[in-house]
Symmetry: C2
Subunit: 416 residues, 2 copies
């Protein structure tokens, strides 16, 4: 009998009524003959309520104690779902992260899963029970409660799926799948029936908020098929129908998968651009600039350095808007005096638009088609970055929606 | 360095502001050179909120899952108190019942503590930390979360005090000690500086709501001194003053303890009386009556059987009012047909008043003084029960307050 993992987020678990709906859905899969492992988030609003309580007491709370407090949200959820399943006559049992030995490192509030002991879960599944596990949490080697950070329940679900050898990990959420682009920007965006892990990874990290990026990394590493699907459909939808709904995140080498040139267009306004003008073009300059930035724990996304003129070059990179002030402080203190940059210029009025597709690997003309599409709209490109399956462009932020629509059209993604 | 245990209930932990006050109090004791172990309840209202959520999903929820849900209340409290102590510059760490190995049996929602491993607590105390432990909860042999039932945090505190070899267990609450009787009934009730365990046990079980009876039993078994004191006083009260405030629950053979004839008067309206009239006075009749009652898990309190007339006798006992209907069903079905009682009469309009005092052991005239005091007020006595250190009387309920005041006066308990 195959083990299926379901994951339900805070919105799906948001009220007793919704929890009862989740129970109906899980019971349906259980009755259809699957061994069911369900991972749940805290009821929506609960984690914020708990963190607000903590902040009221301490403006700068200890991460260890924050985890103690925040982890209770999922524990309440899991117990409530067990009760809702009992009401439907389904035998169910709930476990928190400590109880099923979700071992993590000790990085409180952003811990990483190191191992999971699936034994207890297996024995309860084999006894015919639905097993419910609190997402988002684990325990470190000293038995301290840890949490994986916001959105970590997706990662919990995949890690548990891997640990018990599940057939598929279904992430139920408030959207019905992964789209070719954000439907609020392009109404003709189409839901993808399937997408490769690598594409999903690029899309997740590029501002598609559907899945937490770490969960996709984890799934890719262990080749665990994931599916994103809606928890807002009729809970009594036949299992055969639900099982093929949403978007399957599958393996690149799946022979059934059509290799689209571009599978999706992602976009974000969350970044800011920093340019160090006229830095000497000598070996090691990039490290001298980005070393101190990395030490300050600031993530750099795109980096562009062009050919030099008269021995100097312009060095441009992007950081999250929220890190801009800190980045500038670091540059002023530790970088500018060292690399002797003439000027530091910044812009927050930028947007990043990315085209992602496995098909790019074997097709050379993708970049040309992108540039052509944007040129036709009169959109100037400020920065270009590429990877094997992605082309990212930084443009002026007011053109973001226009660029997304133009690219969506250019790569034939509009739904018929 | 002596270990001191503090226990704070739901009212004391009822808001972020109050939690900060608790932290100030604990920090003060810590600074005074004590190793501090603090046991906390859930914030007031929180356990009820959680249980209401559970009931909304399931009218008859599984005890295991109820424990999973309810135990989160204390976990939030303990984390918040740790944060409040950090704000005061005090190193503090919190643990739930599983983490410090509070092992219980598997009776969910009313588990009993079997053992506690004090090792982790000792090592944190020795590192100079204040250790905070969630009251009310533990884990069973299979790692399931258990709770001790309502009020169980007192028991947790005493059990932890015993496990770590504490010097004293201080129960901070919203009253400032144990009184000679309920001050709402007799305004001249006086706070006792000290009371023996046995007396406290009788008073706790007789309707004095100050301490949970199981905590007193536990303290008595392991001879752990307890003190009941107020959490509503100024948190900056000097430690030397606070350390001798409230009521000490001490050992009977403490030579410093004055052996009052009667230490306190307890009273309750929570019981109902059942009389089986004219049952044959043959051996085994009491068992035939109370056996089926016990099997139905109904606790019987007072039992009276008088001498027989013409081969029959009247058999009277009291049960909690909430159990009356169930008791009558059992009697009708399994008892009356067997013992051939002529009639079953009940009354809910009764009160039980009890005089408790170690001094009774060596003084014979206590009962006489009780009867005299009540006779002077024209109060008729319906049932009498005695133990070594207690005399209990069932009277018509409307006389309860009058009887309490009369007895309080008769035994010289009125404060000057």
């Amino acid at each position: 009998m195959a083990i299926i993992v379901h994951k339900y987020g805070g919105t799906s678990m948001g009220s007793p009524e919704r929890i009862k709906n989740v129970a109906r859905r899980v019971a349906k899969w259980h009755r259809a003959g699957h061994q069911m492992l369900v991972v749940v988030s805290a009821m929506s609003g609960e984690t914020n309520r708990l963190l607000a309580l903590a902040k009221e007491i301490s403006p700068n709370p200890s991460p260890r104690e924050l985890d103690v407090i925040a982890s209770t949200g999922e524990q309440v959820s899991m117990g409530l779902l067990a009760l809702a399943l009992h009401e439907l006559g389904v035998d169910a049992i709930s476990f928190n992260g400590s109880q099923v030995a979700v071992h993590t490192d000790s990085s409180h509030t952003k811990a990483r899963i190191e191992s999971i002991d699936g034994e207890r879960i297996h024995s309860e599944l084999d006894a015919g029970k639905v097993v419910i596990v609190a997402g988002f949490q684990g325990r470190d080697a000293d038995g301290n409660v840890t949490t994986l950070g916001r959105g970590g329940s997706d990662t919990s679900a995949v890690a548990l799926a891997v640990a018990v050898g599940a057939q598929e990990c279904l992430i139920f959420t408030d959207v019905d799948g992964v789209y070719t682009t954000d439907p609020r920007i392009e109404p003709r965006a189409a839901r993808l029936d399937a997408i490769s892990f690598e594409e999903m990874l690029e899309l997740a990290s590029l501002g598609s908020k559907v899945l937490q990026i770490r969960s996709v990394e984890f799934a890719g590493k262990y080749r665990m098929p994931m599916r994103v699907l809606s928890s807002l459909t009729d809970p009594d939808l036949p299992v055969e129908e639900e099982a093929v709904s949403g978007t399957l995140i599958s393996f690149e080498d799946d022979p059934n998968m059509e290799k689209a040139l571009v599978s999706g267009i992602a976009c974000t306004r969350d970044e800011a651009k920093i340019t160090l003008a006229q830095v000497p073009d000598t070996p090691g300059v990039a490290y001298k600039i980005l070393g101190p930035i990395a030490e300050a724990n600031i993530d750099v996304d795109m980096i562009v350095q062009n050919v030099s003129h008269a021995g100097t070059t312009d060095f441009t990179f992007t950081v999250a808007k929220g890190d801009l002030t800190r980045a500038l402080l670091v540059l002023e203190k530790d970088v500018v005096p060292v690399v002797k940059a003439k000027e530091v210029a910044t812009s927050t009025e930028i947007a990043k638009v990315s085209c992602v597709g496995i098909g790019m690997r074997t097709h050379a003309n993708v970049a040309a088609r992108i540039f052509n599409a944007l040129a036709k709209e009169g959109i100037n490109i400020q920065m270009i970055g590429t990877s094997e399956i992605k082309v990212s462009l930084v443009i002026e932020d007011k053109y973001m929606e226009l660029a997304v629509r133009a690219l969506h059209q250019a790569f034939g993604l509009n739904k018929e």
